[in-house]
Symmetry: C2
Subunit: 487 residues, 2 copies
């Protein structure tokens, strides 16, 4: 006893001793009434100061496990807990049988659990998470320290469901600089895009309702729409955005509840919807009074060309657009901060739903982010990130054309390119072959409303790879395609 | 033009000038083709360096708003956006009509929107949020800086839905020190209790299912159960916890899906369920294989007496308990970090649901909290907080007995006391009267399954008030009761 306790230098020894003794009490090794060793004695065994042991005993007393009697020592008072009716312990519940369809679907659609996993040494083009090497930790540190200096303890107490006031004001300005009029609109801070989209669907749709999206589209968005029980209608993509004629036909033929679009650097194709098409698409949705969710995904990653206004800016004083923005895509995904901008009446409902789901988004994170944005660190980062990602993207397109036999390399920008193989080929076969050679990417079918429509496509994430790795990895993929082609 | 721009010293001037010019472009004041003032000229007008204006123009070019022609100047290239079919701008959607019942119910049950609001100068006993003056910001700062030094940029990139590995390990130890065996169990980090409870309900219940809880109970939990469409069965409370006979009858009479209990420092009554009753209650639920959600609410705020093990510790190797813990109640509500401990199979489902809802809880927050906990700052805080809150609680009970004519003052601990008036009295009348005298508290009916059962009760939050304020405020409330009593 006592000599199997290994002390961790980063945690106070008295707490480790306290917890160790608690375990001995719970397991029944030290029973009620037993006297703990004298502090001097235990200190010698554990090679700590006597004071450390005294503190451990005091904490045990504070927690109600022992009683310290002056001059006599510390006595265990805690009864080893008895499970109810010992013959019944081990009552086992069948959890699998208890799960709702919702829970089962969430697991079925969880690509983290279903798709091939990265292993050490593998070259991965699966992720489109930003390259953390571009993050300037000193700027983040400064943002934290500055905000703490200004706000103090307040940052750690409950805040408001709608968001951190300064961040809300900043976001209003930020959207204004994209040409979005704040009139009649309001903003709600969310835990990233994912929460934002879930909130909007819960306020506006019921299972069985129809939603229109681009086909293919963001796989997380597809997952969310499926979990909400929606009937998903995918509109095919052309080089400049969705097929407006098809959109017109769909809207005319049936009652549709909502649209979901990614106009800039579309995931997974990388397409930027042209300004003309943005107007035409918006007109169609407005005609039928169908609200449109605009996913601002990677909008900030504009590599070249003229400014393209978000669709919400085009909608002007009409009130049917819902903009979902996020700083947890190219900036800090670990912080989980995004926002919804929409008609103020809608935001008020979403705010109450948000409060019922998780009270609010971390105020500390919102405050750090606000400071980082307001002091111009974001623009500094963006300038650097755009340059790096633009080069990677250009190189990726070149290398893919050179090394991967395919019908088309899609993508004007963003952190990924999208490969369309000859329709007879199966990208999952290519993936299996590449995986044997330790190369990993995202099969395209997961982005399609009907997965079979995308079975000859795949996405290559390039945010965290050097040109060297691209060259090596794309060559393996190209080789895999050729092998499958030659049967 | 240009002279209405007020510069904010905390944001780089070039960004403010950039955004100001963007607004002029969007509003059509500066149209496509127009040359911007020479940098020297604008610098003089705005009283900034020429370099600042040059930077602003470069950013505008980067963003695709202007083109800079060497030796000639910067020319607006951005077209003022045209709304689609100008006769159609102002297409207005009727948002109110589009809301789902879920959204409407969320607003109806949002006490932030429905209850009386605090105004400057008012004495408020509404909140049970911790007193931020007890937070040691230097410890939090150190935790942040230490973690950033260890983990670097990784903290800001995507993490895992289940949680930050070190925090998960810490929580396993933490629960072990409460007597909970980790065998067969797992942990999921959540955005506080609120998200945890929502996750569990979505995995295990469908609208119309029955859930058992204490009556009264935590109003946020009631809201979540109602939003999930559950039939809520409240079991009356006795001094040592719920009425076991009534529980037995309810369980025998009908199929119940889940139990929800707050065994320690129950909200709103402050009751601690006795160890014997914990066993008896657990036995009943196990008999019918009904899982029990144990809300660890304020469990850490034990003021005196022997350690009381959580019900999950009593369940031993049975697997039917679901423990919801939170560090965002007495510690840092602003951070929104809680956890669910339960059978590993259930946790796996909850993890996939969590991923579909918001990817994961802020990794930065989890890392800061881990460091704070692991290095023993939490215990230091707890020692101090317990002492302060114990004194406030004792004083509150004394003062309430002395100043407020009532049937019973409930509560053994926690950050609140619960007042039961004579049944003929209406606490909302008392509140209206007290509010006229600038005193605010939480009417008790919001904690009851049937609000009318609690109309003669109210909760007094005492976490953030001094004895002086209690004395003043309780006197006003007592006076209001007397006035209502005398009709």
């Amino acid at each position: 006893m006592f000599n199997d306790l290994k002390l961790d230098a980063h945690r106070p020894a008295y707490l480790q001793i306290r917890d160790y003794l608690k375990e001995l009490i719970f397991s029944g090794v030290l029973q009620s009434g037993v006297r703990l060793p004298a502090t001097r004695e235990l200190a010698a065994i554990l090679n700590v100061s006597r004071n450390t042991v005294t503190q451990a005993y005091q904490y045990l007393e504070d927690d109600g496990f022992v009683q310290i009697i002056q001059g006599q020592g510390a006595f265990v008072t805690m009864q080893t807990p008895q499970s109810p009716q010992s013959e019944k312990t081990g009552v086992l519940y069948d959890w699998e049988a208890m799960m709702t369809d919702y829970a089962r679907t969430a697991v079925d659609l969880d690509i983290e659990k279903k798709e091939l996993k990265w292993e050490k040494g593998y070259l991965s083009f699966k992720s489109i998470a930003p390259d953390p090497q571009l993050f300037e930790m000193d700027d983040v540190k400064r943002s934290f320290l500055n905000r703490v200096a200004v706000e103090g303890e307040k940052l750690l107490n409950y805040g408001y469901a709608q968001g951190y006031r300064y961040l809300l004001d900043y976001l209003k300005q930020y959207m204004k600089a994209k040409g979005v009029s704040p009139d009649g609109k309001d903003i709600l801070v969310t835990n990233g895009f994912t929460e934002g989209f879930n909130l909007v669907l819960s306020a506006l749709t019921r299972p069985g309702d129809r939603i229109i999206c681009e086909n293919p589209t963001h796989n997380t968005a597809l997952k969310i729409m499926r979990l909400a029980g929606l009937e998903i209608i995918g509109i095919p993509l052309q080089d400049d955005g969705m097929d407006v004629e098809e959109l017109r036909r769909v809207l005319a033929a049936q009652r549709v509840k909502l649209g979901y679009l990614i106009p800039s650097y579309h995931n997974p194709t990388g397409i930027v919807m042209s300004p003309e098409k943005r107007k035409a698409v918006l007109e169609q949705f407005q005609e039928y009074r169908v609200p449109v969710v605009e996913d601002g995904f990677n909008e900030e990653l504009r590599y070249s060309g003229a400014h393209v206004a978000p669709m919400m800016a085009l909608a002007d004083n009409a009130n049917g657009m819902i903009y979902l923005g996020s700083f947890s895509k190219i900036l800090f995904p670990g912080l989980r901060v995004g926002w919804i901008m929409a008609d103020a009446r809608l935001i008020s409902y979403l705010e109450s739903i948000k409060r019922s789901l998780n009270i609010h988004t971390s105020f500390l994170d919102q405050a750090i982010l606000y400071e980082y944005l307001h002091t111009g660190q974001f623009e500094k980062y963006l300038k650097k990130a755009r340059k790096v990602y633009r080069e990677r993207h250009q190189r990726a397109v070149e290398l893919a054309r050179q090394l991967i036999p395919c019908r088309k390399v899609w993508g004007e920008g963003g952190l990924h390119i999208f490969i369309e193989l000859e329709p007879s080929l199966d990208a999952r076969q290519v993936l299996a072959e590449a995986y044997r050679n330790q190369v990993l990417f995202m099969p395209g079918d997961i982005f399609f409303v009907n997965p079979s429509d995308g079975k000859h496509t795949f996405r290559l994430g390039i945010s965290r790879v050097t040109p060297d790795i691209m060259e090596k990895g794309f060559a393996v993929i190209g080789e895999a395609v050729r092998r499958i082609q030659s049967g």
